[in-house]
C-alpha cells in the first residue's frame, strides 16, 4: 500500500520531464531499436520503431519486412488504446521515448496534433496514397492541407446478436431503440439473459450513440486552436444517457466493463444477447475464444437500431491510423513505413478475413471478394454487403476535442454514477458539460 509514496510519485513525475531536452543529437545517432517483438529479416537495413495493437500485427509486420530491404519495422505492442496513449503522452512530455510510428484511433489525433507530437505527412508524399481512401476517411486524418496519419481501418457500428437467444425467445433484431428496449424487457420477463451491456469503460461507444441521436459534443478546428465549442447538456445527450441508465437500473442490460476477462467469459457463455459494437469487434472476440467450440455459429449481425428509422444515422467506434511522431529520427523513412505498413494485399486480406479491421482501402472495400464474403463468425452471413459497407458509406465523420482522454474519463465517471443510481441521465449530462467547460477554460481555451 505504501509502495508508491507521494515523494516517489513526484520523483516519477520529475524523471519524466527531467530526462528531457538537449538530446536531439542523441536521437539522430540513436542505436537501432533492438527489443523488437518481431523477427528482423534484413539486419543491415535501418529500423523504424512501431507501436500498434492489431491482433494480427505479427503477420502484418512480417509481410512488411519481407517485402522491404531498405527499411525494417521493429514492432512493440504498447497496449490497446488507453494504455498506449498514456505511454505516448508521457513520452511527449519527456520529449523522448516515443516510437517513430504509432497506431492511433481517430478520436485521439487532434489531442496529439495540438501538442505538435505528430508530423505532417503531406511533404513526405502522403497525397500519393490519398486515392486509396474515401474522402471522409481522409478528412478524419487531415487538418486542411496537413495530413497527420494514414488510415487503416474504420469502425462502422452495428448490432451483433446471439441467434440462439433470439430464436429461443422468438424475437427479431430490433430496428429502433424502442424495439430494443421492448425486446430486452421481453427476454428478461421470460427469464432470459440480459440483453446488452452499458459498460462504463467504453465511453467512445456512448459518445457514438449520443452523436447518433443528434448530439454534437464538440466543434473544434486546429486552425483556430484556442477556440472550442462544447455542448454536452443538450437533449440528445440527456436522452441517450437516460435510455441506457434506465435499461441498466432495470436490470435489462448489464453494468459490466467491457474487454475484461469476466465480460469475455460472459460473451462466450451467452450472458449477453446483443453486443452494440464495431466491425472490428469479432476479430478481438475470436482472439479471446468467443464464437468457437459450442458457441460456433451462434452470432449474427443486424444494422444498428435507430431513433428515427426514417432518418437513419450511422456512427463509428474507433477506426485507426498510423501516424509519424515528431520524435522520429528519420521522418521520411518513418513516413514510408506509415504509408506502407498494413497497406499490402496480404495484410489487408488477413485483416478483414479475421475481422480484425474494417478496411478503408478502397481497393479492398470495392473488391468482389470483400463485398460478397460470407463471414464465418456470423455463420456465413454476407455481413459486409448487408450491414457494414452501407453503414460505413453513410458515416458522416465526427469532430473530436483536443482533450479526448480527459473527456472520456469524465464521461466514464458519470456513467459509473448512473449505474450506481447516484445520478440521472439528465443530471449527468449537465454535470459533464460543466466539468468539460471548466477544464477547457483551465487549459486556456475560449469556450463557446
Amino acid at each position: 500500500m505504501r509502495r508508491i509514496p507521494a515523494a516517489l510519485l513526484c520523483l516519477t513525475v520529475a524523471l519524466g520531464t527531467a530526462a528531457c531536452g538537449g538530446d536531439d543529437a542523441d536521437s539522430k545517432t540513436a542505436a537501432k531499436p533492438t527489443n523488437c517483438t518481431n523477427k528482423i529479416v534484413n539486419e543491415a537495413a535501418p529500423r523504424v520503431l512501431v507501436w500498434a495493437w492489431y491482433p494480427n500485427m505479427a503477420k502484418v509486420v512480417d509481410n512488411f519486412n519481407n517485402q522491404h530491404t531498405d527499411v525494417q519495422v521493429c514492432w512493440t505492442n504498447a497496449g490497446q488504446g488507453q494504455p498506449e496513449y498514456e505511454k505516448f503522452q508521457t513520452a511527449i512530455s519527456a520529449k523522448k521515448g516515443a516510437p517513430d510510428v504509432i497506431m492511433l484511433e481517430a478520436d485521439q489525433l487532434v489531442g496529439f496534433e495540438i501538442q505538435d507530437a505528430l508530423v505532417d505527412l503531406a511533404p513526405f508524399g502522403a497525397n500519393d496514397v490519398k486515392k486509396n481512401f474515401s474522402e471522409g476517411a481522409w478528412k478524419d486524418v487531415s487538418q486542411g492541407e496537413a495530413v497527420y496519419a494514414i488510415p487503416v481501418d474504420g469502425g462502422p457500428m452495428a448490432l451483433i446478436y446471439r441467434t440462439d437467444v433470439f430464436d429461443k425467445y422468438k424475437i427479431q433484431p430490433p430496428k429502433t431503440w424502442d424495439e430494443y428496449a421492448q425486446a430486452a424487457a421481453k427476454v428478461k420477463a421470460a427469464g432470459g439473459p440480459v440483453f446488452g451491456d452499458f459498460g462504463s469503460n467504453v465511453p467512445a461507444v456512448t459518445t457514438a450513440l449520443m452523436i447518433q441521436k443528434g448530439a454534437q459534443p464538440f466543434v473544434y478546428n486546429l486552425a483556430d486552436k484556442q477556440k472550442i465549442t462544447i455542448k454536452l447538456d443538450d437533449q440528445a445527450t440527456k436522452d441517450v444517457l437516460t435510455y441506457w441508465g434506465d435499461l441498466a437500473t432495470k436490470g435489462l442490460v448489464g453494468k459490466e466493463d467491457q474487454f475484461t476477462t469476466d465480460y469475455i467469459a460472459g460473451m462466450v457463455g451467452g450472458k449477453y444477447a446483443t453486443y452494440v459494437s464495431a466491425a472490428w469487434a469479432p476479430g478481438y472476440l475470436t482472439g479471446s475464444g468467443v464464437g468457437a467450440g459450442k458457441d460456433k455459429g451462434k452470432f449474427a449481425v443486424a444494422p444498428l437500431p435507430q431513433w428515427d428509422p426514417a432518418n437513419p444515422v450511422s456512427v463509428n467506434w474507433g477506426g485507426s491510423a498510423f501516424a509519424v511522431t515528431s520524435q522520429a529520427a528519420d521522418k521520411a523513412l518513418a513516413a514510408k513505413v506509415a504509408m506502407g505498413i498494413y497497406a499490402d494485399d496480404a495484410s489487408l486480406t488477413d485483416g478483414w478475413k479475421t475481422q480484425t479491421i474494417f478496411p478503408l482501402n478502397q481497393g479492398v472495400l470495392k473488391s468482389d471478394e470483400f463485398v460478397n464474403a460470407k463471414v464465418d463468425f456470423f455463420s456465413g452471413q454476407t455481413a459486409n454487403k448487408d450491414i457494414y459497407i452501407p453503414a460505413e458509406n453513410a458515416y458522416k465523420g465526427a469532430v473530436y476535442s483536443p482533450f479526448t482522454v480527459f473527456y472520456y474519463a469524465q464521461l466514464q465517471a458519470q456513467i459509473v454514477k448512473i449505474l450506481g443510481g447516484k445520478t440521472t441521465g439528465a443530471q449527468a449530462a449537465t454535470d459533464l458539460h460543466n466539468q468539460i467547460v471548466e477544464y477547457a477554460k483551465s487549459q486556456g481555451f475560449t469556450v463557446s
Binding site: P5, A14, A18, A409
Partner: protein, 308 residues
Amino acid sequence: MALTLEAPPADVTNRTRRRVFKPAGWLFILPFLIVFVAFLLAPLLYAGYLSLYTKGLATGTTFAGFDNYTRAFGDPSFRKGLWFVLKFSVVVIPLQIVVALVAALVLDEVTGRLARFSRLVIFLPYAIPVVLGALMWGFLYSPSFGPIEQIAGAFDVRAPFLLSQGNIFYGLLNVVTWQWSGYYMIIIYAALRSIDSSIYEAARIDGANSRQIAVRIKVPMVSSALVLILIFSLIGTLQFFTEPQILGPIANGSVTPDFTPNIYAYYMAFRYAQFNYASAISFSLGFVVFLVVAVFTFATRKRGGLFS
C-alpha cells in the same frame, strides 16, 4: 522513530576538537548520498519547481506561484480522495492492529513447531508483492471464475461482487488487512520477545493469569511498537495507490480517477499530461500526511512518538 542516539559526552568533546575534513567518511556515505540526491532530493526539488508553474494545452507554460496549491485544496476531486483515505484509515488501521496484536500475543504464548509454522503463514502475505496480491484477490473476487461465486453458487445464491461501487471499500479493506497484518504481527512479536521473562514470573507470583499478563503487562510494554505501526499504516493508507490501481480495471469503474489523492495525481500526470498540477497535488498530499502524523505523534508523545 523513538530512536535517539546518545553518545557519551566525553566522545562528543573529543569529536568537536578534531573537526577536520575526512574524505574517508564521505567516501563511505557516497553510494547512499548519490542515490539519495539523484532519486529523492533532486526529483523532489524539481517537482516543487514544476508545481509553481501551470501549463495549458492551448496556452503553454506560465508562472503560477501557489495557484496550483489553492486550486488543489479547493478541488472537490482531491478533497473527495482525501476523505476516502481518511475514512479508510479509521477502519483499516484498528482492524490491522487488532489482528496483528492478537496473533502476536497468541504466538508469544504457544511454543513448538505449530507456532513457528503459524508465524510463517501469517507473515507470508507480506512476502507476496502487493501487485501480485491484488491480482490474486481480483481473481478470487471474480464473478465468473472466483471461488467465492462458486461456493455461493453451490447454495444457489449470488455472492456479492466485492469490487462493486457499494462494496469496494470492504473488498479493499480485506486485501489490505490480509497483506499487512502479518508484517505488523512480526513487529509486535519482536517487541514481545524482547521483554524480560522475569517480569512475567513476578506477575504470576502476584497471582496474575495469562489473560491479565497479556492485557496488563504485555500490551503496555509493546505500546511503542504499536505507535510505530500506527504511524507506518497511517502514512501508507493516506498514500493508498497500488491495490485500487491494480483492481481498478476489473472493478467496473468503481475506482474513479479521483478515488484516492495518489491515483488522482497519477491520472493528472500520466493521462492528462498535467505534470504541474500533479506535482502540486503530490506535495499537498505530502503536507496532509505530515500534518496528520505530526498531530498523531504529538498526541501519543508519552508513548514514544516523534517528539519524545
